[in-house]
Amino acid sequence: MTESTFTENYDVIVVGAGHAGCEAALAAARLGLETIVFTVSINSVALMPCNPNIGGSSKGHLVREIDALGGEMGKNIDRTYIQSKMLNVSKGPAVHSLRAQADKAEYSRQMRMVLENQDHLTLKQAEVCELIVEDNSVKGVKIFTGGTYYSKAVVLCTGTYLRARCLCGEAITYTGPNGLMAADHLTQSLIDNGIEMFRFKTGTPARIDRRSIDFSKMEEQKGDEKVVPFSFSTDPASLTREQVSCYLTYTNERTHEIIRENLDRSPLYSGVIEGTGPRYCPSIEDKVVRFPDKNRHQLFVEPEGLSTNEMYISGMSSSLPEDVQKLMYRTVPGLENCKIVRNAYAIEYDCINPIQLKHTLEFRNIRGLFSGGQFNGSSGYEEAGAQGLVAGINAAMYCLGKDYLTVDRSEGYIGVLIDDLVTKETHEPYRMMTSRSEYRLLLRQDNADLRLRRKGYEVGLISEEQYLALLQKERLINDEIQRLKTTYVGSNSKVQSFMNDINSSQLKSGSPLSELICRPELDYFSIAPIDENRPDLPDDVCEQVNINIKYEGYIERQKRQVEAFKKLESKRLSEDIDYSLIKGLRLEAASKLNMYKPVSIGQASRISGVSPADVSVLLVYLENDRRKNV
């Protein structure tokens, strides 16, 4: 390393300008903090090195929540989508999920422009190689070219770049994604500061030249006619872009044969790969080995953008050698003559054991040090963006001496994501799923603004105007629900003939409109003809009214569960407790509790190895402590 006396001062330093780093840097700068964000390559701002889409099941929820809190991801995909779909529309509102295909290059370029034009924000190309920590507080970073940057807070969002290596069969390159430079120096500095590291692995499929694909052998997948924006601030009417298609095709027994014959050349099976890979996005060789009975696997062929011929082959990530890849891709209908532009590869990288973090995403043992994204053991652009936003906001709050932002499990998927990361043992890159949320019916993508805008306003990322609009929306929803519960329709001939027309059973006596909405075959929209004094309300208000009335029973049930949950969350545990000294705790529980240092009885109860009896013991301990201090 070069010796240099060159120094600069900032409030917040963000290391990495991927999806986490961009949100972190923008949040801190927008809150008025002098912020610098480092990236190993200025061309890789908000890079999408894997799938060319944003959102999808539960991930779409995260993007909505990022937007509700004042983040950028939703706005950026609204600017750059080339196809959009609301998934699961035939299912309940809790699992409706928005997914958009992005023009990757455009997504990156637009985000970079936002960063470049943001006040208080500096974008710099450099590899951060050392963390400066004094008295358990972070002081800044050093970069490889020699400069020293001091700051009050540092946010680490290094993605998959730390000591990255890419594997394609026997060929191994020591680079980050897309052949970008890896960051090889920072890990040692982190270890020296007592941070526990993990090594994870993930992978990506090949990109194929569009001109070499026979789409006539595939099934075309179009976008929705009516596009719903991700951002609550985007006007739906402004989204009139022409959309491009994706295509569906399948692997077959021949593909699988080739894979089986060449398994010994896969670094995954020959033992070359050390990192732990995710079960939710297995490589094609994994799928063939683990599901031998499936004689075909589904593949989606997705455009990478409007200004490129590259197509992403979703469902077929691999670390097999390139000669095998060429053979196996060519067995797929439509890909018989395909030309591979970029090979599929697996990538290994360093990340941390996230149980070292608090819910604020600050390290428990180093003040002012925050982190987000794949560095924290997660995977996915949306998971990264969500954590980056929370880490960036809290780095700012730390500098400003203000209250931290936390989201709990009953408030958002962001809360579930972070609580899982800091509370559960991580054995693989963590991906969001709706089944991870116990209050999924309350955490819908349609009400993210109602759940989280207030928090965004309190930290200062949501404007007064947006906040007032939220209050107005809440008022309209409540008023309309009240009206429907107290407006009765009689069993007159007009109503009965209407019921007849829509195949719903006749009314026996007068009934509030809300009860009609609850009928399986009816909803708020369909009963409009017999709701004579209905006010003219915005679409999003109507949607809330409908969902809240139609599913009231279940929603109320989950709300009661949330109350019980909040009770346990509000029983706070101090970080200084030495659990090995508490009589009655089982040994396993005491050691787990000492390791995780939960902030509340609620979190303690979610740690694997802590039993209900241990929770009872903790409650008695807390009460004892409280009375001693009275």
């Binding site: 894997c50 799938n51 099941s57 539960s58 998934l87 699961n88 035939s90 299912k91 309940g92 809790a94 699992v95 499929p205 997948q221 569906l248 995710p278 079960r279 939710y280 996005c281 297995p282 799928k287 599901f291 499936k294 696997h297 589904q298 989606f300 979703s314 469902g315 990530s317 559960k424 799923m433 709706t434 089944s435 999924r440 019916l441 399986p520 599913y551 279940y554 049930r557 989950q558 009661r560 569960q561 019980a564 009589k583 009655g584 705790l585 089982r586 694997s608 039993s611 209900p612 009896a613 241990d614 009872s616 013991v617 409650l619 008695v620 301990y621 009460e623 004892n624 009375r627 001693k628």
Partner: protein, 459 residues
Amino acid sequence: MKKDTIAAIATGMTPSGIGIIRVSGEDAFSIASSVFLKKNNEKLSEYEDHKAYYGYIHDKDGILDEVILLVFKGPNSFTGEDTVEIQCHGGILLMQRILELCISSGARAAEPGEFTKRAFLNGKMDLSEAEAVMDLISSKNDLAIRNSARQISGSLFEKISSVRKKILHELAYIESALDDPEHYELDGYPEVLSEKLLEMLRILEKLSDSFDDGRMLSEGVRTVIIGKPNVGKSSLLNILSGSERAIVTEIAGTTRDTIEEKIFLGGIMLHVTDTAGIRESDDPVEKIGVDKALAAAGDADLIIMVIDSSEVLSCEDEEILAFIRKNRKKCVILLNKSDKGKVIGPDEIACYTSDPVIVISAKEETGIDELKKYITDNFASGYIKYNDEIFITNARQKEALSEAVDSLLRVARSITEKLPEDFYTIDLTAAYESLGHIIGQDLEDDIINEIFDRFCMGK
């Protein structure tokens, strides 16, 4: 939703003069009102603090017992909450029945040490007692976990596990389809699930019946009565169960080979298997019976061997004695038919084994007290304490089972009401968790693991 009023049997589970069922929490009085009638058959509407009421406990079929109801208003009670104590006659079945009645009226079975925990949390106990309370909670829980593990018979465990596995599979399927809708479809799925629910409900309802007669519990000293045919095994069993009979159940379908009974003897629950007589046989069916008898004896805590003392030892007797010596189980040898002419005595047996020998007459019921004393001396210390927890655990398990049934019924209702598929997961998960409580297993990451294990996901 977890109910907040708790109930438990406060006295030990040994048969005694008076039994106490304690109910504590905000609904204590309303629960009492629904199970208790005053002497004049009226409901109690006013609850005066520290007052005793005389009357009846009744269920929908009528009066169960004459009881005294003690009322303690919070904070002037042990727990600091509204509390009633039902003092009933001390029969075990009766206490259990009253506890279950309180549970079905809105209470839940108390967790081990929970009354004490509440007393402490509500400021009814001194600070100096905190450590003792924490110790009590953990030791009682340890005991309860050990007990429930012992209590669940292999077949109950298997049935619950198999239903849980089915539920988990459905959950994972639905979740996979929600997570990856372009890969897994739910078209026509509600109808398929309906069928599967019926099957699950059938299994659970059968289990629920067997909980009632205690058939599935394997608590107590596993005891096997063994001997060649016609030495008086069955009459012995009748005497034992007739004197202090608690629960008697015949296991259907197994009567040809073995009969199982639960017998209370000197405060100890014996889980008695009466085996088919052992006789060297070429008849294949009978041969199976003999093998079963020996297998049952191999699993037993206590073997009672019955010998006809009016005849010389046969080769079958010798074979059994050899088996006993080889297996080194706790064993007592009964020389029956002492009323008839005595051909063999304890000295002859001593040549084969050093196990105690008792001379009895099943016909004249002599020697039975000696047998009881032997059992009490040998098993009381280890088992009486353990019996205390049995029925409360049983009540907890029964409650969990009925919650599981309710949850599955709600899924069925969601299907008829044409709710979207993701709503099914709410109650399926609840059912899965309830069943888990019975066999001591948590939800943890089961669903996610099942999704990844069974369904091929991802890009």
